[in-house]
Homo-oligomer: 344 residues x 4
């Protein structure tokens, strides 16, 4: 931590800062420049130290030197994490593809989507049973009935299921059905929920909040990890910017950056990033080329009748076409992608 | 709703759109321009209609004409709402001032803050018992013990208490102590929580999410209102922008805009907006001048030792000085502000 | 300047950084922490030093300690600057009000606007002769004829004239007519233009770029000042954010912040901030309450027939009403505002 | 164009709107809904119509239906444009790679960079002679001497040269040396400059402004095209967002979007997007995978001694490695990339 003193700070003020640093367990080193005085501080308790120092008279600013996340950092663990999901894994050599409809709408629609995506090579099925919708008048999901339908589709297809949980009270219930629990963008800083999914064992897919910095995103992962669960998969899904032609702006740079800063696997969701199915294929390819460990893609048997997110959903035919483009790219990146599968 | 057709859309495609509109209960009106064809649609079920139309072949875009919020809109209720909090009210002639520390830290600190702000004229005491912190390693609040301390300070000072709830499970508990339940910026789209506070009767202070549009903010209010509780107070607390000299950017335009679009009262929080106590006074004055119904201000007896948000907290002396500047401005705006009070 | 070394940096790498610092004229101080090593560096040539150090092996990041602007900083000059415009001044006790139409459209319209704003107390007339328009098909301004009309209106009303220059080649011409040269938001980093207005003597009104940080804005002012002209007036006019209900988001915090960081006077433009005349009055009041030295407001005798920016222009009657609200607020802020004037 | 009337608009107000539409050459169609009245308007003069209608009493808002750009739109020309640069072209089957240092610093450095990038397969050499720098105290470029050095390097290597022009007065001079004139991000809305490069014949590389919407970017291209020069190449270089770990956020979605909206070729600049050489390779790959027609990459023989932008420059060795990864990806995308070249 570096404490920068005001131009006009007095000797007494400097002494006060040094005393406070000592109280907080830091050892301090004074550097006198021509114009500014800075104090380097090492070894102390960084929690709250910044705020407590910034208010001392004569202090201009306090610059932290260490990143605030620990367990999820690449400094903590040098090799990339591979998250196990039953006999499958995410973060390893094989690119993970999670596909399916935005919401579970009915037995038939889900099965139809599940069989289609499985046939094209996906190994994970997405589908929301609890839906966080901007409007209280929009479809809110089928709740437990939706979870049952997901489990039934898993039995029929062998796909692992990924589904969102939005209320701490429902974590146990959702975890009893799902293979991966999803934390949606709007709940990335729902700390009560993060702690709750951190207390159970199923892997957690943590979407980036639409206005979350990469640091805040990694801090949200740290919440889960520090509660006991390190099976975390990150997912970039677009951030909010001034551009209005797309629903969000896919921050593709986040992929290589997160790979540098953290050991956790990272996916890209090209559907929510753009809100426009015509952009899904180029963004999926871009995500993979940037080094993503997998993709999360909305597929619906009949997008024009979907209860939510129709405009960003691929048809099964478009999804199949995309998978055929992704496979050679995966290979080029030194990864692999299952392309076809037998479905029961 | 207006459906804009592609330049090259066919007669058959146009017919399909008209049929779909009819299915959804709309009556449609075709307008043929030199370059584009648009279809005006009125009277139908707008839920999901937009998404279902956008995917039909030949459709370029669908433009909604109505705002998506209803109960909280100014069109629904022409006169401004006045929210009753016991014998006090927010949204009426008197400017509401909510002041106090970021978090409840101890009996003495809270009482000292409460007595100070009451003495300077505030009628509401803020203080967090459940704290949503970016880092899992930061102080997370005193929980129920904090609520008890708040209630005790209310008894000692007569101030109404405003405190945050972050978990749907805690709503009943927090409501049993608080006079106003606060929904923080990070939970503005925690829909499970919004529904829960909508099912009880205590007034709800709804902070704007740091990347929420005004429309999304009003939709969050609509969640609470549509669950049964219309005692809602909005609070602008700064939005996330590219500027880094302030923690957030106070969107002061939101005050007059929300007043046009909605009948709900709106406050300004100059402390979280800026993250810098030196900016609190000018931003509080600006908020009032823009037409806010009140202010929410962090005050701590000793900011340099606060467990959170010290850098943006005023000392009691600075708060007193600010209240003396606010009073004549309130009068200028045709409002009033209590300036001094007797404290037991 | 603080150099933060990588966790795994070697002794040799540290030595290389120290040598490079010495070459650049810095004296360096090594601080060894438990986890990180930082090197404090003082006294050297900061230009390009940061970039040259960041690339050395073992360096994680370089943190600057000094602000990059000099002449315009509050550290350079403690008291606020007062910019003289003939017998008037901006930055002193009197609030400066610059009002008038977006563009000079004709002799009659301009004179009508000028007489109206003068009558209500404004001392400065705005009006664009050279217009930077987003579309090449929009009205581009009357050019030199517009300047002549402005000069003629000055003669008739006694108002000082403020007009925009958009091409370095036109600076001499515009300066021969105008009392204040305006640099528009889109040209805030048009460095050729900044240098050119810095080489002449007329005061320069420098609008903040719509995505400029406060630091970049002050650096743009530094360009003008370092070219020889310190008669600079800053003007906040809204920044680009995700919010779409307003054209831009007025960053009202910029007013007190700039006052802390710089000695230059700062105005607020509520018209371009909002793009909506209904928000102009509340934002003008907010700007003044936040400590602005003046306002820049669009007024048009008949907004519905204006060639540009009609929707954000006040009518003379609304402007008059606003001036009557501003006067007592100015007084409250320890300033004054001329309210009525005799017009020839 | 669609005019949406207020809930409480009167018959007289509606009539006024219809009359005004007629004056502006539109034919109008009234649609009465249960809650709102909308008026569809076709065929008239859209310039300024929106603003003039929005201010009429009873009008809530005006929604444009047509995009404001014409010549550069995909509707104007269905097939993608191929821009000729001597015997080479951009937008055709071959991926264009423009590489070289940020600024021309000396004869030796430039030649060394040029030979290196040519050897690895680039066909275009970048290098700034006129530099737009945030600080007036930073290196401002070698000006005409820099142009001469670029021309000399062209002779030595056969590379086409791409260099920036920042002042309308210099367009003729720069065009007499360069093969492609670059308009930098900060000048994207320097309309005087856009018109000037539109009046000459050399191809123009138009970078996206850091806070420009895609629509504004295409409008800037329209300025150049409507001045007579349609040889325009677009270049996405990152936009300004709240994220601070990267200098800008590469908006990779802009690539497929611009391809839908316009017929112009589009490049990606991964160096300025990120400001960090470690991210350049993944972002270059992502750009190509998203469908870009080429890349613009900073390469410096010795980044740690570069006069500007060192931290984002690749060494020749890293650039060579990147080109070898790009070639098979280009093939996968149905394009080609020259990988090795003979250099004189």
């Amino acid at each position: 931590m570096i404490v920068v003193m005001d131009l006009h700070s007095t000797e007494e003020q400097i002494k006060k800062v040094e005393e406070r640093l000592e109280e907080l367990g830091f050892s301090s080193h004074l550097i006198r420049g021509v114009e500014k005085i800075v104090i380097g501080a090492v070894g102390g308790n960084r929690e709250a130290a910044r705020e407590r120092l910034e208010l001392l008279p004569g202090v201009e600013k306090v610059v932290p030197v260490m990143a605030p996340y620990k367990i999820v950092s690449r400094e903590y663990q040098e090799h990339g994490s591979i998250v196990k999901v039953g006999e499958l894994s995410i973060g390893g050599e094989e690119i993970a593809v999670i596909a399916g409809p935005c919401a579970v709408e009915s037995r038939e629609t889900l099965l139809s989507a599940a069989q289609a995506v499985a046939r094209s090579g996906a190994r994970f099925l997405r589908g929301g049973a609890f839906k966080p919708r901007t409007s209280p008048y929009s479809f809110q999901g089928m709740r437990e009935e939706g979870l049952e339908i997901l489990a039934w589709a898993r039995e029929k297809t062998g796909l692992k299921i990924v589904t969102e949980v939005i209320n701490p009270q429902d974590v146990e219930l959702v975890a009893s059905y799902a293979d991966i629990l999803q934390i949606g963008a709007r709940n990335m800083q729902n700390f009560a929920l993060l702690k709750e999914v951190g207390r159970q064992e199923k892997p957690v897919l943590l979407k980036r909040g639409m206005s979350a910095t990469i640091e805040e995103w990694l801090m949200a992962a740290e919440y889960i990890a520090s509660s006991g669960n390190s099976n975390i998969i990150l997912c970039e899904r677009g951030i909010r910017t001034f551009e209005t032609y797309t629903r969000n702006t896919l921050d593709v740079s986040a992929v290589p950056l997160v790979k540098q800063l953290s050991h956790l696997p990272v996916l890209v969701d090209p559907s929510h990033s753009s809100g426009n199915w015509k952009l899904v294929a180029p963004l999926a390819l871009a995500g993979l080329a940037a080094g993503a460990d997998g993709l999360m893609i909305e597929v619906h048997p009949n997008p024009a009748s979907a209860l939510s997110d129709g405009p960003q959903s691929l048809t099964p035919a478009h999804f199949h076409e995309l998978m055929q483009k992704l496979a050679p790219l995966a290979q080029l990146m030194g990864r692999s992608l299952r392309q076809e599968a037998l479905v029961s």
